[in-house]
Subunit: 278 residues, 2 copies
């Protein structure tokens, strides 16, 4: 999960509460884990140096980007992405020990987890209800015979629930990518990627073709592209791109110089070791 | 809101319940309005011809795409986009008549509305809690002195709540684009756009540059580009593009032929009259 990431023992803020997928991701780093109630609170704690680093979700292979993480990194904080953690997501149906699946009328979980198990919930003939977190859902259903939660093994343990079904997500290959956020740049390791965000000079996405030419000319692979609304008007976007290489590499410096002339705004979110096979 | 869209009187399914923003959008079309509980149920009703058309949200200028609408159009249904409706979103804080803002501990609304009013809720020192719809939130807070909902004027009327504050969204220029979904193609009107979804031949977004060249060479403006996870693996995307022109236009036919050679999968979601200024 974090083969290449080297971070010394530290204080780690994560999107809590205890039992969340973010805790599972953060526990692969050595240090004291401190839960926060929201992605913004994690970033604020890193920004104020109340913690050394933060671990927050940035994209899921099924549901797509975590908009609030992207927006906060682009608009609100000048923090660095120092690493990534790729966590396979296996959703479990959590019930009180006296209940069975036939009793369930309502399924509680985070909106993304509910969405990822949509077909399973439909087949149960149950009503999905969104909660702020998966582990919050487990806490909520404790003692309610007709309610179930979707969450982690750890959440089941914490709230003394049983796992009535596992791997209940509709699609296989469900992984979430978390980023490690801090205040310092990472040195090149030889297997790095760089994350940037930019907006185009032109008002319309037509200019994206020109911006992408900077990468195509150097044969540099993009590992991610996301468009997000600029929050100015409909049809006005900012683009998040990840690509292979470290910002200290000569070729990457050339690309970044080239792309600067084609964008009205550009921010380097960080260069950091690549995990997984992308 | 629907200057260019011409649809004869018909049965219109919309993402309910009564009092939702989708109802406000759908009410600009002449016909009988029928609420459904989810975007999928609206599409299923159109598919089964239980209603003539459906009205569902597809993107918001602040929050970005509505993933479930894009995914259902790409993967699950062969329906046509027949038109678009652009609705300015003005969020209101709805309270019971005996309550004041100082009493409020919890604010209920749809996750997107909560997210769009994040700073306002933080300043209230209240806890946001997600509900399946904005009008569902209004129903839920009825009679609860310490709870507020975020929703429409119509929802306030329906549940006899008062509007304690209006235009409470964090960003101005908050508009939602709805699409009208049906089973028939629309004839060219001279001011049309076309929506397509495609995936690339190559495994990586590098091929996006080549696909966009089909538009750049013809100087055709893209009015939207979104990447969505393909649900196969992390870093594997499908792309939604809107551009000016009707699929019956000669130039658009050429672009579509050109792009077919650069994509492993392409689906034309529809050609329909453009609303607004994009």
């Amino acid at each position: 999960m974090t083969e290449n990431l080297k971070i010394p023992e530290c204080l780690i803020g994560f999107l809590g509460p205890a039992g969340s997928y973010a805790e599972e991701a953060a526990s692969s780093i050595y240090g004291e884990l401190i839960p926060f109630n929201s992605i913004m609170e994690v970033m604020e704690a890193v920004n104020l140096e109340n913690v050394d680093i933060g671990v927050v979700p940035i994209e899921n292979s099924i549901e797509g980007p975590v908009g609030v993480t992207l927006d906060l990194l682009a608009h609100d904080y000048d923090l660095k992405i120092m690493g990534e953690i790729i966590l396979p997501i296996s959703h479990n149906l959590l019930l009180n020990k006296g209940s069975s699946i036939e009793d369930i009328e309502t399924v509680y979980s985070h909106a993304q987890a509910l969405s990822q198990c949509r077909k399973f919930i439909e087949n149960m003939n149950a009503q999905p209800v969104a909660t702020p977190s998966t582990s919050g859902a487990a806490e909520l259903v404790k003692g309610k015979k007709n309610a179930a939660a979707i969450g982690t093994q750890r959440a089941a343990d914490l709230y003394d629930l049983k796992i009535a079904a596992n791997d209940i997500q509709d699609y296989k290959n469900n992984v979430t990518r978390f980023v490690v956020i801090g205040n310092e740049d990472q040195e090149p390791t030889g297997h790095d990627k760089t994350s940037i965000v930019f907006s185009l000079v032109e008002d319309r996405p037509g200019g994206l073709y020109n911006a992408l030419s900077a990468f195509a000319k150097c044969n540099v692979n993009l590992t991610k592209i996301e468009s997000r609304p600029s929050k100015k008007k409909l049809g006005n976007y900012i683009f998040f791109i990840d690509f292979q290489g470290h910002k200290a590499d000569k070729e990457v410096k050339n690309i970044l110089n080239n792309i600067k002339n084609k964008t009205s705004y550009i921010k380097i979110l960080g260069s950091y070791p690549t995990e997984g096979d992308d």
